[in-house]
Symmetry: C2
């Protein structure tokens, strides 16, 4: 079973505070970039892996999806989803991402935002996704960038005397595997995989890479968060769009 840090009460309170800031990374950088890559959703059936609050699920409905299944390991996340983003065509299920092979439905789009870096067995996940996708179905997901997940000591910046970030300390990039880092005062387990492993696993499971995005803040985002200029030194996340070949 995957780590369920979001059901840790203290952690979740901290996380909720972070998410309240409408000028956070997800809202200003990751969300606009991944939404740009969405295929036409009219009448489509979508699975959202690690759906969290359900914001993307409700967005898919507004874009015409006929059915959305959102799964998340955290009951606390889903409590909020069921309050804030409820819809008759959205079904929320508490489920570990490593258990999706029990789903019987097939999907047009499998989507995931910033969750795959928590998954230990990426190869199995991609295999499970392949089996759940219709022919020509799309996988669209973001995860932390390998340059961010690589260092065994966590992603650390070297700063100048004024606190400006000079460069990111890149190490351990080719050592695929578990990383233990501290986030919001809690120990978090993540999994680092080099870009080549991420890409080649998809290709071996019959996916065609359609686009790779290393998102950067636009002018508007930089006005709100000038510190996001550091994303130009190394991007926090990577977004991959892949299509199952028939």
């Amino acid at each position: 079973m995957s780590q369920n840090i979001y059901d840790n009460e203290t952690f979740f309170q901290e996380y909720k505070e972070l998410r309240k800031n409408v000028y956070n990374y997800n809202i200003l950088v990751e969300q606009p970039a991944i939404r740009k890559l969405l295929p036409d959703l009219s009448g489509k059936i979508v699975l959202d892996l690690g759906c969290g609050y359900g914001n993307n699920c409700i967005d898919f409905i507004s874009k015409g999806a006929s059915k959305v299944v959102g799964i998340d390991i955290s009951s606390k996340m889903l409590e909020i989803a069921k309050k804030e983003n409820i819809h008759e065509n959205i079904k929320y299920i508490q489920m570990d991402m490593s258990k999706i092979n029990i789903l019987s439905q097939k999907f047009d789009l499998i989507f995931s935002s910033l969750a795959f870096h928590y998954v230990e067995d990426y190869k199995k996940l991609i295999c499970d996704i392949r089996l759940l996708l219709k022919d020509n179905g799309t996988l669209l997901y973001s995860q932390e960038h390998p340059n961010t997940t690589a260092p065994k000591k966590g992603c650390v910046w070297t700063k100048d005397q004024f606190g400006n970030k000079l460069y990111s300390n890149l190490s351990d990039y080719m050592y695929s595997g578990k990383r233990k880092i501290t986030w919001l005062n809690e120990k978090i387990e993540k999994y680092h995989r080099p870009m080549s492993e991420i890409i080649n696993t998809l290709i071996k499971e019959n996916f065609i890479i359609k686009e790779l995005v290393e998102p950067i803040p636009d002018e508007n985002a930089l006005k709100k968060r000038p510190d996001f200029i550091d994303e130009f030194h190394r991007t926090t996340c990577v977004i991959i769009k892949a299509q199952l070949s028939h």
Copy 2:
């Protein structure tokens, strides 16, 4: 016209010395990794962009290629190629890689080893390559890894007091463009492009990504060059195999 640093006499003497060391990076890491990805060459026509000494050209012949064209901007490189790696089915041409659109022949494989990071207009290069490839033809190339080319100040390591490399100073990754660095006592111009730009340019030109390799030294290489363990912190090069879809 691209920079022709290899025809600088002083630089070329230094370069030849470096290449004489049979325990260098090219021989121990890059060459074995890229050769593993070669398709079946029996009866195939191959173009080698930046062929240098012609070692790969002669290797293609030994693997059954019926014809090989090797181009290089440097006359000094080709002088050596024409001495050491001559064959009736290899044609060496002194030519800037940005001029390959004048070639009239079509190829089964277009190959390039550690040269594309010298090319300013990558988009044009990939477009030219597409036009020179037969349907289902293969592009196989290595170039310096974006994590190596990114820093505007050149790729620098932070070391401990004993000189051991701790981490690579990663910066400027999302600023695509020219980099001026010093190598073998000469100023060299290279072009950095983020991984996403490298990959998406290929996809837009109708290539299907078949494999992405971030090569690391094997046990044998590490015995000869224990210092190559640092490649696990960040790899010097990346290798891409792509197929033109029909």
